[in-house]
Symmetry: C2
Subunit: 154 residues, 2 copies
C-alpha cells in the first residue's frame, strides 16, 4: 500500500498535500474509518484540509478501485484500503468495529443460477455480525448495556 502514491501518479493525479495525507491516513492502521474519522486524522496532519476534499478524494479512490466503500449499519460509510485482496467483514453490533476475514470458498458459488432471476451478478458482500470479545465481556458483566450500542469507542 506504500506505493499507492506511485499508482496515483501513474494515473496522472496531481499529488497535492491534501491527497497525500488522506492516503497516509488510509495507509495507517488497518482499521476501517468513516469519512469523518479520516477527516479528523487528516486534519491532525494538515489542519486546513476541508471536509469536501476528503469526500472528493475518497470518492475518487473508490472510483478507481484503490479503496472499498463499506456500509455496514446504514450510518456513515467506512473506507477499506484493503481493496486488492478479496475479503469479508466481521462487524461488532455494539461498538461497530470491523475486522477483515478471508473466505475459504468463493461466496458466489452459494448462489445457483436458478436463483439469479436473470441478474448479472458481479460481486458478493458477506457481513458477519455479532459481538467483539470486548463488548461480549462487557455485556456479560452488565446486561443492561447490551442493547445500548455505544456510538463512541470505549
Amino acid at each position: 500500500m506504500s506505493d499507492l502514491l506511485a499508482r496515483l501518479r501513474a494515473r496522472r493525479w496531481r499529488l497535492t498535500a491534501q491527497r497525500r495525507v488522506v492516503a497516509q491516513v488510509l495507509d495507517g492502521d488497518h482499521v476501517h474509518f468513516t469519512a469523518d474519522e479520516i477527516h479528523a486524522r487528516a486534519a491532525a496532519l494538515l489542519p486546513e484540509i476541508s471536509r469536501a476534499t476528503v469526500y472528493n478524494t475518497l470518492g475518487e479512490l473508490v472510483a478507481i478501485g484503490e479503496v472499498l466503500e463499506v456500509s455496514t449499519d446504514g450510518r456513515a460509510k467506512r473506507y477499506d484500503p484493503n481493496a486488492h485482496h478479496a475479503h469479508q467483514h466481521l462487524v461488532c453490533d455494539s461498538c461497530g468495529t470491523i475486522r477483515d476475514v478471508h473466505p475459504s470458498v468463493d461466496p458466489l458459488a452459494g448462489l445457483p443460477a436458478a436463483e439469479r432471476y436473470g441478474f448479472t451478478v458481479s460481486r458478493v458482500a458477506v457481513t458477519y455480525r455479532g459481538l467483539c470479545p470486548d463488548c461480549a465481556a462487557r455485556s456479560a458483566a452488565d446486561p443492561a448495556a447490551d442493547s445500548a450500542p455505544a456510538r463512541a469507542k470505549a
Copy 2:
C-alpha cells in the same frame, strides 16, 4: 403476514390506527421500501400520520424481530417484512431493486472458528450485487448510461 396484528396484540401493543396502516403497507407488495416510502404510502391511507411515528413503529417492529432492516447502499435503510424465513438479497447496482433469494447452505458455515477472532457471531448478511435483467439490457443498448445509477425506478 396477515396475522401480524394478532402477533402484535399478543405482545400487548396498543393497536392504533397508525400502527395498523404501517403494518398494512408492509403487508402489501413484497417490496423493500425505505422509511420515507412507507411514510408516503401510510399517509395515503391516514393523512395525518407523522414521520416520527413511522420511524418509531418500524424501529419497534425491527426490535421485536417482525421486520428486518436492510442497508444496501449507505443511503436510506429499507425494511423487509419477510423476517420469518432466512434469506439473502440480490441488489441491482443500477436501479436499486432488491430481490430475495434463498440460500442452499448455511452461510455461517463459511466462517471457520479460526477466523472469528473471538467474536460471538450471530448473523450473516449476504448481498449479491450486479445488474437486473432490465438494467443489463439497457446498459447493453446504451453503454454510456452504465455508470449513471438511476435513483428513481424506471
